[in-house]
């Protein structure tokens, strides 16, 4: 069982979720127990098996996998991870907002992949509440990226009212 540090709800915490990757042929090897976050393709092939498995279940979306594809399955997942393959790829910001604001997902949404301090503010505002900081970066420093700017103009997942309805 892995025991790495993540940022969750503004705190540094230990984490036990295991992110399952598919191999080059699209196959994944699942551990017998423990909490896993599976790729979309695996869920689409083996939803029943996954639901019956011991341990908690999550899913992760790559940046070219839209949240619409799981919109009707959301109650099966205790966590949804959004992968940012490179930080310049900003599709995941839209996915997070759609999951929160359109599909009403209330569970944990996690950013994985190329995730660093300076994206956390935007990610948090889009409804992402946990973050796996990429290798080589200091998580203690990264956490200060959650609130660099203390006011926002727009309505978003963290603030249902735009500033013009509050000022």
């Amino acid at each position: 069982m892995s025991n790495k540090k993540i940022i969750r709800n503004g705190q540094i915490e230990s984490d036990t979720w295991l992110v399952i990757k598919a191999d080059s042929e699209g196959r994944s090897i699942l551990p017998d127990d423990g909490d896993i976050i599976v790729p979309l393709s695996l869920w689409q092939e083996q939803a029943q098996t996954l639901k019956q498995r011991a341990g908690k279940l999550g899913i992760w979306l790559n940046s070219d996998e839209s949240p619409e594809s799981i919109a009707t399955d959301l109650e099966n997942f205790q966590i949804i991870a959004i992968n940012f393959p490179v930080f310049m790829d900003g599709r995941g910001y839209s996915y997070a907002r759609l999951l929160r604001e359109r599909f009403g997902y209330k569970g944990e949404i996690r950013a994985i992949g190329d995730v660093m301090q300076d994206q956390l503010f935007y990610m948090r505002r889009c409804g992402i509440d946990s973050f796996t900081i990429k290798e080589g970066k200091d998580i203690e420093e990264a956490i200060s990226g959650l609130y660099p700017i203390n006011q926002s103009y727009q309505a978003a997942a963290d603030q249902p009212q735009p500033l013009f309805r509050r000022r």
């Binding site: 300076d118 948090r124 660099p148 103009y153 013009f164």
Partner: protein
């Protein structure tokens, strides 16, 4: 002009602290070059050929005199004492030191200025007509809507990592499009529907660069309160579907073309239906609040025409020429809008020294309620000058080199910084501008040629908007040598069109000759009333081709 409250000020102050921290982490080696790149770009900071370049936002071109004095001060303290006004109503410093950029931003924040999102793959500065609020034909003042868009787009959490940069321009004038809205990612026109209500006509997917495109209409009429939800729908469709595999195919214009404007519109409308009437629907109170910042200054009630002003024009031909070219009619009787030219021969178009900036700020205080605007054509506008003051303003402006009476003429070029400053350039552009300005120095001849937009870019990125110049000049690289491709027939106004390439490119020393030959054809073929673009549209490119390429 918009004035910050505590919220706006806090956002800008927080940004200064954030960027200071980012810069320190970069200098300490905690952030790599690649990681720092989008962070500094989203703050307008480029690493250029000779030094960093910092692009400072001048939202929709509005500047208070104290802000311009601050720009003068910053360019004196942190740079070589001058700045460059760009075609998108920004000002660029070309020699700041990276370590000092946070201090520059802190100085700017004291006068409610910043460089947020002036570069990078995000929503950039919103631009508009430099005569907003004073133009005679305007349907209504576009600036409250520009400010609304500025606030909405500032640190928009969903759209900070778009496939590519994103530019929005607003126009409210049915007879002129001075903001070149149809070559923007989104062009917004304020229009009136049959029942007399004002709203927005929305165009998407215009742009210059490698693939110049005129924007497509996606919505005929959008009621005002839906502006932000509609923009959000467009941006969301683009953020999700725009190409990210190829930088040159990543602009929204490519997406719109690839899927057809009809299909794109359909997706936007679908997305919008979900957002419509949500919390981002703009309240009547917010529109009212924003409008209070753009009310009329304390105009005096004056006769339509100032008699003395008319008399001075008949007495002094130089003054009359300047009035003819650089003074624009005003909606208020007895007032005029004046364009101070930054196009003096021998100076890079759009460049101003710190002394000139201070002088312009003084002119604004003395003659125009302390406000100035930056124009898309890289000049500065004093929008509210009494006709009776024009003569003394002209004399003051002449002293500082702002009274070049060539507005809209061949010598009033748009020109990017080019190879002298920009690391992306194929060729220099400023020396080309100077070469042409020197060739066409005779004012009578320039007046005779009349209205003509000549635009120069140093490479395909088209910062000098060469595609929409009546004459466009593009720097190209021909086996390592700097060459120039000429195009004809572009236009950026309400009748926007893209130029057509004349033929094989020319070496640096041929450019002015070529322009001269092109002008000769026009002079020869024009009818009395025709501007250059009209003649071109009537006779086509062939007569120009024949003349230019004869005997080669």
């Amino acid at each position: 002009m918009y004035v910050y409250d505590d919220y706006d000020q806090q956002i800008v102050n927080d940004r200064v602290a954030q960027f200071r921290d980012q810069t320190q982490r970069f200098l300490a080696g905690k952030i790599s070059d690649d990681e720092f790149l989008p962070l500094r770009l989203q703050n307008g900071l480029y690493i250029q050929r000779h030094a960093p370049m910092l692009r400072i936002a001048i939202p929709y071109g509005m500047l208070a005199s104290r802000q311009l004095r601050k720009l003068a001060d910053v360019s004196r303290k942190f740079d070589k004492g001058y700045g460059h006004f760009s075609t998108r109503q920004n000002m660029q410093l070309h020699w700041p030191k990276l370590e000092q950029v946070p201090d520059i931003l802190a100085e700017l924040a004291t006068v409610q200025m910043h460089s947020i999102q002036t570069s990078g793959n995000c929503i950039r500065n919103t631009t508009t007509d430099q005569f907003a609020g004073v133009a005679r034909d305007e349907l209504e003042d576009p600036r409250p809507y520009c400010e609304l868009i500025r606030q909405w787009s500032t640190f928009h959490p969903e759209f900070a990592y778009l496939p590519r940069k994103f530019k929005i321009a607003v126009n409210a004038n049915p007879t002129a499009d001075r903001a070149a809205t149809l070559v923007h990612d989104i062009g917004i026109h304020i229009v009136q529907n049959e029942s007399g209500e004002n709203g927005f006509k929305v165009f998407v997917g215009g742009g210059l660069g490698r693939t110049p495109v005129i924007a497509s209409l996606v919505r005929e009429f959008l009621p005002k309160k839906h502006l932000l939800t509609y923009l959000e729908a467009i941006l969301r469709v683009y953020n999700r579907l725009g190409r990210r595999d190829n930088k040159h195919k990543a602009r929204i214009k490519i997406l719109v073309r690839a899927m057809t404007p009809e299909k794109f519109t359909e997706l936007v409308e679908q997305e919008w239906l979900q957002l419509k009437d949500g919390p981002n629907t703009v309240t009547a109170e917010e529109f009212e609040r924003l409008k209070t910042f753009f009310t009329e200054p304390e105009y005096q009630s004056l006769p339509q025409q100032d008699e003395h002003f008319l008399a001075l024009q008949t007495e002094n031909n130089f003054f009359a020429n300047w009035v003819k070219r650089n003074v624009t009619p005003h909606k208020k009787p007895g007032y005029a809008a004046v364009t101070l030219s930054l196009k003096k021969t021998g100076i890079a178009p759009g460049d101003a020294t710190h002394e000139q900036m201070d002088a312009m700020a003084d002119l604004a205080d003395n003659y125009s309620f302390g406000e100035l605007r930056v124009s898309h054509e890289q000049n500065i506008v004093l929008a509210d000058v009494k006709q009776s003051d024009l003569h003394s303003l002209w004399r003051d402006a002449k002293q500082h080199g702002f009274a070049t009476p060539t507005l809209g003429l061949l010598n009033d070029m748009i020109c990017c910084p080019g190879g002298d400053f920009c690391s992306l350039a194929n060729a220099k552009s400023i020396p080309i501008a100077q070469q042409i300005q020197e060739r066409f120095q005779d004012l009578d001849y320039l007046y005779d040629i009349g209205d003509l937009d000549l635009n120069i870019s140093g490479c395909m990125n088209a910062c000098g908007h060469h595609h929409v110049g009546n004459i466009g000049i593009l720097g190209v690289d021909k086996k390592g040598a700097e060459f120039y491709q000429v195009s004809l027939g572009g236009a950026s106004g309400v009748d926007a069109s893209l130029g057509k390439i004349l033929g094989p490119s020319f070496s640096e020393k041929e450019v002015a000759n070529v322009i001269e030959k092109i002008i000769d054809v026009y002079i020869d073929k024009r009818t009395e009333e025709e501007r250059f673009i009209d003649t071109y549209r009537r006779i086509g490119i062939d007569p120009f081709k024949q003349q230019v390429y004869a005997n080669v």
